[in-house]
């Protein structure tokens, strides 16, 4: 569909336009969370900030890792490392659908030529103990985003409700820029002195990580990491609220949540290594969910989570 003069010319231009658009709508432009996560939702700016009563509006790119999706850089549309663009606004504004459609226009999708549809797709994250209702958004039959009204996170009812938008950036870029193979997407401007494709940037990394994820990662070590993260998360949350050194009340929800994220990613790695059976799978997911729930319980006891002395 790259025929219109208003179209972006590269993967990064799509990101930049989304940034500019959502900044204009008043969102705080955050940066990616500095840990391995499976999706943008795991960023504490979404998971934890969707809890409690305090208003919140943020947008960010989140590099995400799904080890089982690794294809050694050979697949045109699957990578173990990929990008999500995430918008989270609490309370969800009444015109969120219109705002979202505005973002599609901003990246060059001409509403008069395309068929945009909101198709039922309820979201649930068993590891986060979270669910919401919404849609997958179709552009000419292609899923370009997830649109969700959070109802519960970490076992807590969301009140007010957050509206969450998630764009799969590679797929969206392939559609907007007209490429069938994601590795060929221009990453920077194709007319730049040194033009780079998505594959130039990531293909080699994909192969290396796929090999490590599937066959080389030390599973005994990973299992220990899981156990350690789980234990540390629980331990952090059991520490009394009052810090003896400063004399202040400091609930350490965020450091505990880091351990929860860590456990979740280690579980994904173990899954990719094929050492988790179907039955164990449910048990592991349950263990991560228990951590997420504890972190959510702790977060609502912080100021950011709406706690008031």
């Amino acid at each position: 569909m790259a025929e219109n003069g208003n179209n972006p010319r590269s993967f990064q231009e799509i990101i930049l336009r989304l940034q500019a658009y959502w900044a204009e709508q008043g969102c705080a432009m955050l940066q990616p969370y500095d840990m391995e996560v499976g999706a943008g939702t795991f960023h504490p700016a979404t998971t934890l900030r969707s809890l409690g009563s305090r208003p919140w509006a943020a947008a960010y790119v989140q590099p995400s890792r799904r080890p089982t999706d690794g294809r050694y850089g050979d697949s045109p549309n699957r990578w173990q490392h990929y990008y999500q663009y995430q918008v989270i606004i609490k309370p969800s504004p009444p015109d969120l659908q219109a705002l979202y459609l505005g973002s599609l226009s901003a990246i060059g999708i001409d509403m008069d030529l395309h068929d945009i549809r909101f198709v039922e797709d309820d979201w649930e994250s068993p590891t986060l103990g979270a669910w919401g209702l919404g849609w997958e958004v179709w552009c000419d039959g292609m899923e370009v985003s997830q649109f969700t009204y959070f109802q519960q996170v970490g076992g807590h009812d969301c009140a007010p409700v957050s509206g969450e938008l998630t764009y799969g950036l590679e797929r969206l870029a392939m559609y907007v820029l007209g490429y069938d193979d994601g590795n060929e997407l221009p990453f920077n401007d194709p007319d730049a002195p040194i033009p780079l494709t998505y594959g130039d940037v990531f293909r080699e990394a994909e192969a290396q990580y796929a090999r490590w994820n599937f066959d080389v990662a030390d599973t005994d070590m990973l299992l220990q990491h899981f156990i350690d993260a789980e234990a540390e998360c629980a331990r952090i949350l059991e520490v009394p609220d009052i810090d003896p050194k400063t004399g202040r009340r400091i609930v350490m929800a965020l450091p505990a949540y880091d351990q929860c994220i860590k456990a979740s990613h280690v579980f994904n790695l173990l899954d990719a290594r094929g050492v988790i059976s179907v039955t164990e799978r449910q048990a592991y997911i349950g263990r991560v969910r228990a951590l997420a729930k504890k972190c959510a319980d702790a977060f609502v006891m912080t100021l950011a989570g709406g706690w008031a002395a």
Binding site: N77, P93, L113, F118, E120, L133, D140, V161
Partner: protein
């Protein structure tokens, strides 16, 4: 009389919920109005992806004023009682009337409830309907507490009087104030417009590119799609469910026909169709000459300046990516299939069937053993039946079935063919899941029947062993469907198979599976032995003996408390197998009653047949019940039944009184009347015919022979007094009656038949 128009305008409502929601809006709203005294002439409800609409015509302008008279306490009742009455009735004391009654003077209150205008009532009812709407799943949004399926944006609520004057009903729900405006198509006609009446609303919507009526949208899609296909010499594959769903995804449908890339046309048509339907909600378009699916129809929600070229191009691209996946799965699967598919079977080792019953691979072993066992009875070669059973679940490991679970069985057939397996094995892979419901076709090929029976028996006995039987409306493992499937397989194929034997074998195999999981070597060995004994010629008896002699009670069972509870001792183990067999057999009989009742056979007739020996031979049971049912519908049958009942009553009374059983020794030489002699002659002539017919399971002949007994029995009761003074004659007559009873009871337990 005014008309009422309501529109609840929201963000996109899931397609599958729309039509039900429109119906709920109509019934809840009109029920509420009528209950409040507002009757109406007619009502209709509509839905689009963004709105639920209700039109009510000829509504009363106000509810009628009602009067009610209420009797109160006596005039000398305590003050508190009188005050309470005044409060309840809502009247003042001077409005009370005093009347003389038998027991003294009594207060009466006359309560008048003034009618209320329609808008007040509508506002009340609508708020309650919105707040209590039965969405399958609902949500909150923003800072509000209201629940709706997706955020509710506006409420249109207008009463239009006879003069065409429209007024907004004043109401508000959670900050959303009702008014008289709505919006058209999101993209083709953005912006609000005013509404004055339903007719104006519907035509204004159309002008704003919204077709209000889902049926009209479906019809338009179908017309548009079939016309385009027809013009290309092709036809659209009909799919009512998909049509309804797609009609719920668009407000302004535009069908667009596109090509399927040539490189995908050699995929199985079912794969093309499923992939296009599940992922893209496309209709399949096939070439009627070849039966191949060559194109697709997608339904867009708008017109565009380029006549849908961009939309179609995008859809085509998505489809190609999807089909590339499908083709990738297909080719990978074919490679595995062509080498015999062993990796798939191995993979089933790691797939849990149920955590108390072990893996899919173990289940396949049981099905294979059972399929061998039932093969002779259904006319199948045991080796082929076993081979087919071992292959039947292989496709569950295939990439295609992993992607499209609904293609299970079908892919097994394709892959069996690719592997060069016998045609029977391929057919069974697909056919053994059938019948899935009461109207699904029953496989007839013997190997398919054997595997289908084995598959369903294993499911039933497995869940019986772990005590997960259906209760009430809960049947999560579809066990009723499995039992009905077995009944239909046996009955509709006329298979002679006393079902107890395979049930016992299957039950033992399932128990073994269960015990295996408890990792107790001793128990395992015992059941192993019992299992193989059951499969040998000695069958059930020796299997039960083995179970009895094993001292299972000595082994401490460490887990699965419920299993411990059912297996405390060895002897109980054997009892349990027996008890569960009986229980499962009676479950079959219950399902059989439902099955036969649907075919017009009364439950008491079925009970009469179930009471007969050999009731585990379901085909025999059905033959008997059908013949008896037909017979009882005839005049002869009905009268013979009365004759039997009369004979049985007289005999039962005499036997109770005399303390003896009259069962033998009727002799024609003590007969005094022609009627008695005629009955002797008829019984002498017909008894051997009936017995022989029953032995050869020729129930129709048995019934016609029975029919000839009707006249002599009727004549006998007409002319002969059984209880005479002569004890010899009386005893002889009672013994004669017992011959009637005996022969009738050989047909069925007629004491259980009503009437």
């Amino acid at each position: 009389m005014p008309d009422l128009l309501i529109e609840l305008f929201s963000e996109e409502i899931p397609a599958r919920m729309q039509s039900r929601a429109a119906g709920d809006l109509r019934t809840r709203m009109t029920d509420g109005l009528v209950e409040a005294g507002l009757t109406y002439a007619g009502a209709a409800a509509f839905s689009t992806p963004r709105r639920l609409t209700l039109t009510v015509q000829g509504l009363l302008a106000a509810s009628p004023t009602t009067h009610e008279e209420r009797k109160g306490p006596h005039t000398d009742a305590p003050e508190k009682a009188i005050e309470g009455f005044l409060r309840g009735a809502g009247v003042s004391r001077d409005a009370l009337e005093v009347r003389d009654e038998k027991k003294g003077q009594v207060y009466f209150a006359r309560i008048t409830k003034p009618g209320r205008p329609a808008d007040v009532i509508v506002a009340e009812v609508l708020e309650s309907v919105i707040r209590n709407f039965p969405w399958p799943k609902s949500m909150r949004w923003g800072s509000g507490s209201l629940r709706w399926v997706r955020p509710l944006h506006s409420i249109l609520c207008v009463l239009t009087d006879d003069a065409g004057e429209a007024s907004v009903v004043a109401m508000e729900v959670d900050g959303i104030k009702a008014d008289n405006s709505t919006e058209g198509h999101r993209f083709m006609a953005p912006g609000a417009f005013k509404v004055t009446s339903f007719d104006q609303y519907q035509s204004a919507l159309r002008a704003h590119h919204v077709i209000l009526d889902a049926d009209e949208r479906a019809e338009a899609i179908w017309q548009d799609a079939t016309n385009q296909a027809f013009a290309a010499g092709l036809e659209v594959v009909e799919d009512r469910g998909l049509l309804a769903e797609v009609a719920g995804l668009v407000e302004w449908p535009v069908a667009l026909m596109g090509e399927i890339g040539a490189e995908f046309l050699d995929l199985p048509p079912e794969v093309l169709q499923t992939s296009m339907k599940e992922h893209q909600k496309f209709f399949s378009v096939k070439n009627p000459k070849t039966g191949r699916i060559e194109r697709f129809i997608t339904v867009a929600n708008r017109e565009t300046a380029d006549n849908g070229a961009t939309i179609l191009g995008g859809n085509q691209k998505v489809l190609s990516a999807r089909l590339a996946d499908a083709k990738f799965f297909w080719q990978n699967d074919l490679r595995v299939a062509e080498t015999g598919g062993q990796p798939w079977l191995d993979a089933l080792d790691n797939v849990t069937f149920h955590n108390k019953l072990g893996s899919q691979a173990e289940r396949i072993d049981r099905i294979a053993a059972l399929a061998r066992e039932v093969a002779p009875a259904v006319g199948a070669d045991p080796d082929l039946a076993e081979q087919a059973a071992r292959w039947a679940k292989a496709d569950l490991s295939s990439e295609m079935v992993n992607e499209f679970p609904e293609l299970q069985g079908l892919m097994g057939r394709y892959y069996a063919e690719a592997a060069g397996m016998p045609a029977e094995v391929a057919a069974a892979a697909q056919g053994h899941y059938s019948p899935l419901g009461p109207s699904d076709d029953v496989p007839a090929a013997p190997v398919s029947v054997a595997v289908a029976l084995a598959d369903k028996l294993d499911i039933l006995t497995g869940f019986w062993v772990i005590d997960e039987k259906p209760t009430g409306s809960k049947d999560p493992f579809a066990l009723r469907r499995a039992a009905l499937g077995i009944i239909r397989l046996v009955v509709e194929n006329g298979v002679t198979l006393p079902i107890s034997t395979p049930i016992t074998i299957s039950m033992l195999l399932s128990m073994k599976a269960c015990v295996d999981l408890l990792e107790k070597k001793k128990i395992e060995d015992t059941f192993q032995e019992a299992g193989s004994a059951a499969l040998s010629n000695d069958g059930l008896l020796s299997a039960l003996n083995i179970l009895k002699s094993a001292k299972l009670g000595d082994v401490p069972l460490r887990t699965e408390a419920d299993f411990v509870a059912i297996m405390p001792t060895a002897n109980r183990g054997a009892e349990i197998v027996k008890a569960r067999n009986d229980d499962l057999l009676s479950f079959f009989h219950d399902r059989l009653k439902v099955y036969l009742r649907d075919q017009g056979i009364r439950h008491d007739v079925i009970d009469a047949c179930i009471a007969m020996p050999g009731n585990d031979d379901l085909a025999l049971l059905v033959k008997r019940a059908t013949a008896l049912s037909d017979f009882l519908k005839t005049d002869d049958g009905e009268n013979l039944l009365q004759g039997f009942k009369r004979a049985n009553n007289i005999l039962t009374q005499a036997e109770e009184k005399d303390g003896v059983e009259y069962s033998y020794g009727a002799d024609i030489k003590f007969a005094e009347t022609d009627e008695e002699r005629a009955l002797f002659a008829a019984l002498d002539a017909q008894t051997p015919i009936i017995t022989a017919a029953l032995t050869s399971e020729d129930f129709a002949s048995a019934m016609s022979a029975m029919a000839t007994l009707r006249a002599p029995i009727d004549a006998f009761f007409e002319a002969v007094q059984v209880n005479t003074d002569s004890s010899i004659v009386r005893r002889n007559r009672l013994n004669l009656l017992s011959r009637i009873r005996r022969i009738c009871l050989e047909v069925a337990d007629l004491t259980r038949v009503e009437g």
